[in-house]
Every structure is written in C-alpha cells, then in structure tokens.
Symmetry: C2
Amino acid sequence: MITETKTSTGETKQGVNILHARRLGIDTQYEAIVFMRSDCPICHSEGFSAQTRIRVSYKDQSVIATLFQTAPDMLEHGEIGLSESAWHRLGILKGETVSICHPRPLDSLSNLRSKIYGRPLEANAVRSIFEDIVSGRYSDIHLASFITACSARPLDHSEMVAFTGAMIDAGDRLQWDTYPVVDKHCVGGLPGNRTSPIVVAIVTACGLTMPKTSSRAITSPAGTADTMETLAPVDLDIAAMRRVVEKEGGCIVWGGAVRLSPADDTLIRIERALDLDSEGQLVASVLSKKIAAGSTHVILDLPVGPTAKVRSQNAAHALSRDLVAVALAFDVEARTVISDGRQPIGRGIGPALEARDVLSVLQGATDAPPDLRDKSIALAGHLLELGGTIEMGSGVKLAERALADGSAWNKFQGICEAQGGMRRPPEALHRHPVFAKESGKVTAIDNRRLAKVAKLAGAPGAKAAGLEVHTRIGTAVCVGEPLYTIHAEAPGELDYSLEYVQENNDIFELTEL
Amino acid sequence: MITETKTSTGETKQGVNILHARRLGIDTQYEAIVFMRSDCPICHSEGFSAQTRIRVSYKDQSVIATLFQTAPDMLEHGEIGLSESAWHRLGILKGETVSICHPRPLDSLSNLRSKIYGRPLEANAVRSIFEDIVSGRYSDIHLASFITACSARPLDHSEMVAFTGAMIDAGDRLQWDTYPVVDKHCVGGLPGNRTSPIVVAIVTACGLTMPKTSSRAITSPAGTADTMETLAPVDLDIAAMRRVVEKEGGCIVWGGAVRLSPADDTLIRIERALDLDSEGQLVASVLSKKIAAGSTHVILDLPVGPTAKVRSQNAAHALSRDLVAVALAFDVEARTVISDGRQPIGRGIGPALEARDVLSVLQGATDAPPDLRDKSIALAGHLLELGGTIEMGSGVKLAERALADGSAWNKFQGICEAQGGMRRPPEALHRHPVFAKESGKVTAIDNRRLAKVAKLAGAPGAKAAGLEVHTRIGTAVCVGEPLYTIHAEAPGELDYSLEYVQENNDIFELTEL
C-alpha cells in the first residue's frame, strides 16, 4: 500500500489516494462498489471504463471494489462513497479515511480462463477461486463468468470433489461428539415443501441426533429458517445451538450464525439471476453445507417436475449418482429420494402459512395436508433406516408411530422451548382469492411463478405473507372457484402481487373435462 | 404497463408503482441501475435479491434496470434514483414521474442458455440476443455470461456470419456512391500504433476513396478518433462527413455520430474486464464495423506478440482464415497482414503524442519514427493493390512516392481543413522520465502495462497525457538511461501513474549483455 508518493517536483506528500469514507447506505448485496466524483484525479486517471476495479484499504482490511463515477453534487471533494458490502467488509468507523490503490490482477482469474478454454481445474486452482470469491474479490461479472464456465464445461468427478472441499474450507465447520449425525436436504424448487421441522421432530423423538442448520430464503418465498422463526427463535450462536442439541437431540436454527460454505450463497444469487444450473456446482453446494455442518448420514430429496430444479427422471438419476459418489469421498453416507416435484407440498407458501401446515401435521389435525404428512414420514423413515440401527423397511412405521403417539409433537415443543420459547405464527390482514377463469381439471401448476406471487405479496420479509393453495393437480374445479388465496401484510404488496397475477393467469393449467 | 390496479378493497387507485424520477448522476456506463428506498413497498415486495430487475417506463420508452436498495436518507418517499444510462435511455425531463413494473423474462436468454449447454446458435437466435443487448436489456452479468459462453463454446463459421450480420443490423449502415470503398483496421493491443491517419492520407492522395470512421479509446490510452481530434475536429455528422469525402476522397472522423455496430462497444467493455477473447466474437466485431461503414475492400492488420491481442503465429493464421471467409460471405474482399506486435509502434502513446508522430511521418521529418513510417507504407501499399488497379507488388512504391513528394501531407492538410480546420496538438506541462534500473539489452516490452501507465497519466481524457518511448527491443541501455517519459496535464495524475510504475518496474525486460 503506497500512500505517500514522489510527485513530479520531488516532494513527498499525502497522495490523492487518501479519501474520507462516506457510507451511502446502498445495498448491492455481495459486490463491493465505491462511488467517486467524476472530476476527481483518480477517475480521470483510471480512464474510467465499465468495471474499473480499485483496492480500498482501511487499517489492515482491504476490499477490491467496482468504481462508479458520480456527479459532483453527490459527494464532497476528497470523499469516497461506499456500498454497504464495502463498508461492512472494511469495518469502517464513521468519519474515518481510507486509502485507495490499483489492485493486482487476481491469480485465480487465470484459472477461471483455463476452465473456460477447456482445461479441467486442479484442486489448488479451485481452492484459489473460492478463496477469492469468499473474500469478496470477484465482481458480479466474474461470478457470472465462473458460473457460465461451469455450465458450459461440466465438472468431472474430481472437480466436484475439489469444489466441495474448497467450499467447505472457505467457511466454518461444526463437529459433534455423537455418531451418527443425520441431516436431510431438498435440492429445491418446490414451494411450501417444509418437511424439515417435522422430520427433525420425528427422528430426534426416535433417538437420532439431528442438529439442523437451515437457511433463510435467498430467492424463494421462505427458507426453513424463515418458517421456523415464526414458531421459535432461530438466531442462535454455536454455544446456544449445542445446548439445545445436547438437551433435545436436535434443533432447527438459522445457519447464518455459523458460516457454513459461505461461497454458496454468493453463487446462488448469480445462478438464479442467470437461471443457470450446473449439476456439478449443485452437488458441491448441497454437500459442502451438509459436510461443514458435521453430518455423517444424509437424505437428499430430489423433487422432479417441469418447474422444479430437476426437470427429468434421467437428470435426477445422474444427479443422484454424483451426490452419492462425492459424499462418499468425504466419508459421508448419502441416500437420495426422487420425489414428485410437479406441484407445491402442503397448503401454505410463505413463512407463517407453512408453519401452520407444520403444526397441523405434528398435532395430527384431521385437516393436516396429507402430502406434507406423507412426505415427512417417508423422509424420516429413510433417515431412521440410514442413521439408525433398525431394519430396512421399518423406518416408515417407526416414523408414523412417533407422529401418532404425540412423541414427535412433544419433542418439537421441547426443541422450541430450548431455542427460546414457542411462538404463534402471525396472520395476514389482507387476503385476496384468485379464482379459476374457466372450469376444468388442474393438469399442471407452475411452481416458479406461484413462488413469485408469494414473494411479491411480501414473503419472506413479511412473515404472514404468501399464499394458500386450495387445489392440486388432478382436481376438477369450476369457473369462479378459488385456486389460491394471496395473503399480505400491507395493501401495497397485495396490489403488486395482484398485478403480476393479472399478467400471469395461467399459473394453474386447466384442461377441459 | 399496468399503472392502475384493483386493491384488496376493490378500489382502483394510482398504484405504488408511480415514482418521481431523480437523476443521481451515477455513471454505470452501459448497465441501467435504479435506486429505491429499502423501506418502499416495492423493495419489500421484490424480496430483494442481488440482480433484481425491474422495468421502468416513461412515456413510450422503457428500460429494464437492476435495482439497488438505499438507506432512507438518500431518497425521498416516492422517489426513484436513476443512473445516467437509465436516465438517458428514457429521455426523462426533470421532475417527471416514471412507472415501474415487473419485466417479462427475455426470450433471448433461453437462446443464450442453449449456447452454454452446447447447441450452436441459429441466425434468429443470434439476432434476438443482439437486439436485446443493443436495447440495454442485458445486465452486465448477462453480458459476462454471453461472452464466457462464446469463449467456452467457440463459434463456428455460420455463427460468425450470423453474429456479424446481427451486429451490423443492430446499428446504422453507411452507403457510398463510389466503388471501391477501402478501409483498414488493426485488431489491436499495440499502443501508439497510429497508422490510420497516414494510410488515409496516402491512399486518398493516390485516388482511392477511404471514408474512415474511427473509435475513441474504450480501454486503450488513445483511439484514432482521440488522436485525430488533436489535429482537427472529428465530431462530424453524416452529412458533414459526406461533404469531406466528396471533396477530399477520404476523412478521419469519430464513428460515434453514426451508430456502427453499437453492440461491439458494449461487449468490449466486459470482454476487457474479464480479459476474455473469443475469436468468433472478434471476427464479428471487426467485420461488422467495417461492413456497416460501407467498405468493400479491407486490410486487416494482425499484430502478433506475447502482450498483443493475438499471441501466436498459429492463432494469427486461424484468425486470418476466419476473417477472410466471413468477409466473403458479405461480399467484402479482405486481406490480412500479420505484423510484429511485440512492442509499441512509434514513440508517442496518448492522443497528442501519437499525433506528433503522425505529423512527423507525413512531413517527412528526419527524426520521424521509422517503424510507424514503414508500417504505414506497407499497409497503404496493400490497400492500393487491393482496391486499386495497380499491379501486385507496386503498392509500396506508390505509397512511398506519395509520402516523399508531399502529396500525402497536402492531402492530410486538405482533409483537416475540410473537417473544420487544422489544430496543433497540445503539450503536457508535467513530465517525468522513468529510468533503467540496470544495464542490459531490451528483450521484451509489456504493451498492456505500458498502456496502463499512459492511461493512469490521464490519456485519453487528458489529450496531452501519455508517454514517449525512448528505446526498443534489441537496443542496449545503460543504468540510469531513460526508458520512457510520462507526460501528464496535472500532478495528481502523474503521481497516480508513478505509483503504478513503482509497483511495475519490469515493463521493459532487460537482459544482461
């Protein structure tokens, strides 16, 4: 870091590269962005082009940021504006100065270029890429290029193992004194598919250890952590989480307090924006989180459907093979379950609405959604067989019993209490049914657009927001019958989602009877 | 565009999606970005993730923009901040309102995904991608993904033809009443390589028509338009350009007044940021500009060197074959010249410094840089043979004569006068020599980092800035001898470039004698 430079007249002076940092409150998510006046010497000097990168340093921290120029009235002379990500990475105190200089080219970008041109990545190269990603040194366009390269040049087995290992090492890792430690994961794409809290309750009631760290929604209407938060606190640190698991054998907490495979969240955002799935990246993403969480036995749910993440049986089988093989390379036993991904699971979509479904299954309510109940039992059954000492084929029976005799519901209440006390999920004030425009049989439901409606209604930020699905594939509906009901906490959000519904009146495909 | 929506209470009202537009003066170059308060219903409702895209409309114009959230104190309630690119694309008047809504997914992105997964692009698919790019509908991450895909899945001949055609059609096209219309182009990477003004002067003095539209620097220290602008006005509209060409047979103007292959500039910015070259994209980029400018016969200069755009003779030959074949598909006769790209051409790097070299060659000065002179003569000779009616092998002699007898210099002055009057290039006040740290023979020069020094010194924004190279590959230098001299218009810029020089003292590679 050079902050003193010789000028043309030979003097040594504080260079132009010391600037007052100003927090602009602009949230760019991952990418660090800085703003400088277009009339400052540095902007002139960088010959400003798109994606100019500069290194900003504060004390012993530094970030590489993309430079945007601003009109003179937005910043004072000698000021630099920082995005939230740049501000937080540097840990700046108000009113302090930062120094700026040219970043050296990232070595890992030449590895990325090699991959693009067709050379498989060695483990060291993969490691250097993920270190740079986790340190925030990639811009969004570098991430986009990396994700595209992994789709255009599919990862082989060695690369998947290297990706998984590098993603684990780029974050924290949990260790447990018990064995086995079981976990489940769904590769996603299905709204409402909130089996985890039920599965944890069942298998821990049956004596297994299942310390579930779950995510908040990144692009979906609810993550397990969002749903669970309407029932109990989930924002536990590692010590608190350990206490819960020691007492109850399991927990359902937000994984954000522990940095498990943090590169994953960074990549997912860009993958979704590009709508690109690389199978190898998916394998590494799923397994790195589970392995970093200390799991030894894992059930992986692969829903298959035209609007789920996995579109065909063939793709599911290929993915299944890779998941099991890569898990094995890390001494983790994985079993995959290929499930029906053509429509949402349960009735609710959105944190509180899904929580209600979870409660009704655990409480054995007569109107509990049967699909959510059956799927939870099936997954719990697999997990009991995989991690337990029971006979193959008897898992489902054991899971059903834990649900029927109330032991799963008791265990769930125990976990909620241990996490800080059980809560009642909130209800939305504003509701609006969406009606069938014609009569017919429901032949398809677009999971993605339905999830979008729930998000536009405010989920997951507004906990009570989302929607309730009233019908399923194969059901006959009459014109004017409600297909689903939107729930919102504010009228503005309800309007915004209804506008989308007006433009998308074919989310439920109806075929003449 | 729905701006009135039914609310939950059944009223029709002006929705939350009408906002007051505020120009923030933030220059993001191509990508349109909008800023909204994090506490506004829409930010809530979009479930904000990175790369959220919204459509912003004003009168009959609309853009798709990336949404950044801001702290409440940056914008008023009901306000939306716009980047310069968003503001200009919409053509908003101060104080007006815009409406926002959800963008429909871009159809062309599914074509892009097909390409990533290995299917060659059909002509229609290519067309839809370029239409979206030119309309500003791609975000920078879409562009990064597209560029990466074209590198990971190289374009075949049909794709190159389709890319070239689509890039031509996405912009304007010039037509000339004369035949032939000649042009030259260098695929670049060589600083100081300012042959075009000399070549235009020579071949038009010999009777050919050469209406040269040239670019300003995108990522280099000077484009031909930047250099020429220090000698005469270059900012001519099409009518003015035609008058100059009718009178003098040629011109050297900035191509910005005519939108020739505008997608090219957009892509180049991201290509450079990723340091990715796709040969197919390069072919389409070069030829689309020449064909759109109405050229019928083109000389293409391919400098080869470790830090030039083309790194090896093999790569140059492959590129040459593709350029000639694709040009032929558009009835354009192209000839390629593979040249020495190991070091800069001429002495000056930067607009005014290169202009001085150009003048010295045209005026036949005894200290004119011989490499610039020889290369200009060679290229002009090829062009005279290609577009003229003279015998093969006699082009160089004719070009030499036009230079020696002063007819090229007279013609150049005539062109400058016709373009608005000849100017004297400015000189920089601040200069700083960079000395050899040891004695030895110059065995390599890093074109890219040398160009970076010139840019950091202020080129091309500061016309007089840049550097003068004092030595060439093969020359012996003594310790303390100046290798090059940095020129800057302001001390701050000089400091900034010197800081980079301190960190990069191996731009000239010296080997012990």
